[in-house]
Assembly symmetry: C2
Homo-oligomer: 191 residues x 2
């Protein structure tokens, strides 16, 4: 049930049309919740029905005409209540980990090329995130609570991609040149 809330968040940041939202879901918001334009148009319809958003008045509201939406008070209230509503983290569901496990069962065909490809994709994504951080959150600057929230979210993305690059690097090394098993690292203790 996150897509409507992702859309409300995006519309609060800036009233937009369906296509503009789609573009923004390819960048910022989309880095943590992706959606296609079909999902977005459908959801905009539902949100309008529910009275959470409305289309801004327009001269010619015809097919093929741009239609901008803004959030109504009911929508803001729904989003606010969703923010603190308890929701358990999802189970991990990762095809690559699953494929490695399958490889163990079918006798381990060569996955090296695929692992290298994933490593490169994750490295590229990490670089992008780090560039955003440089640009939007340069060190030693007074920031608001809102900036701080946005920054920890970006740190989440950065550290996730860091995890993947590190794990893929270790895994490749382990499968190429097996020593005594994967590197172990101490689990962090609480502060």
């Amino acid at each position: 049930m996150s897509l409507p809330h992702a859309i409300l968040t995006a519309l609060l940041e800036k009233p937009s049309s369906g296509l503009e939202l789609t573009r923004r879901f390819d960048r910022s918001i989309g880095y943590f919740w992706s959606a296609t334009h079909q999902q977005i148009y459908r959801e905009l319809g539902k949100l309008e029905q529910a009275g959470h958003i409305r289309a801004l008045p327009s001269d010619q509201p015809a097919r093929g005409q741009k239609k901008d939406y803004e959030v109504l008070p009911a929508g803001l209230q729904e989003l606010t209540s969703w923010v603190t509503r308890p929701e358990d983290p999802r189970q991990i569901r990762d095809p690559l980990l699953l494929r490695l496990r399958a490889a163990a069962v079918v006798g381990g065909p060569d996955m090296e090329a695929e692992l290298v490809r994933h490593l490169e994709l994750h490295r590229a994504q990490l670089e992008d995130y780090l560039a955003f951080e440089q640009r939007d959150f340069p060190p030693g600057r007074r920031i608001t609570r809102q900036d701080r929230l946005r920054h920890v979210v970006l740190r989440g993305g950065i550290e996730l991609e860091t995890f993947w690059t590190k794990w893929l690097t270790d895994t490749l090394a382990e499968l190429r040149d097996p020593e005594d098993g994967p590197t172990r690292h101490a689990a962090p203790d609480g502060p």
Copy 2:
């Protein structure tokens, strides 16, 4: 398209009935690909239709009777080819990151309790994984290629949960006692 492959993998490890598979999807395999019993029964039907698995002969194949499945050569072939088939990593899709971003927009209601709750859940999961590692992959033991594959998969789970506990701990500290922004860590360079 991963569920049928998850099931084929589980059935190769051990021929099972639908309910047994459901149990195993609550443990081992399910740590990386979860599924409900309804999904599993439906998929077993499809896999049988496709000639990838078959029900083992039984005396009384009636409703309410246990039915065990085993993988046929066609199923093994399909799984083997899937293992090396290129498939891009999924975009991140995480409700908690999204909620933090929404919090930045609606004015930051108090998410501390929810963050603490998630931290505890991730810590518990991490402990479980570490216990599995102790049990199944004790240090200093000769292991086969298959064991090595299984171990790197488990390391993936361990390091993912380590990331979450660390990021949540940092985020809580940052939102409680704001200094100059989230802690930065150097990005790893390639070897």
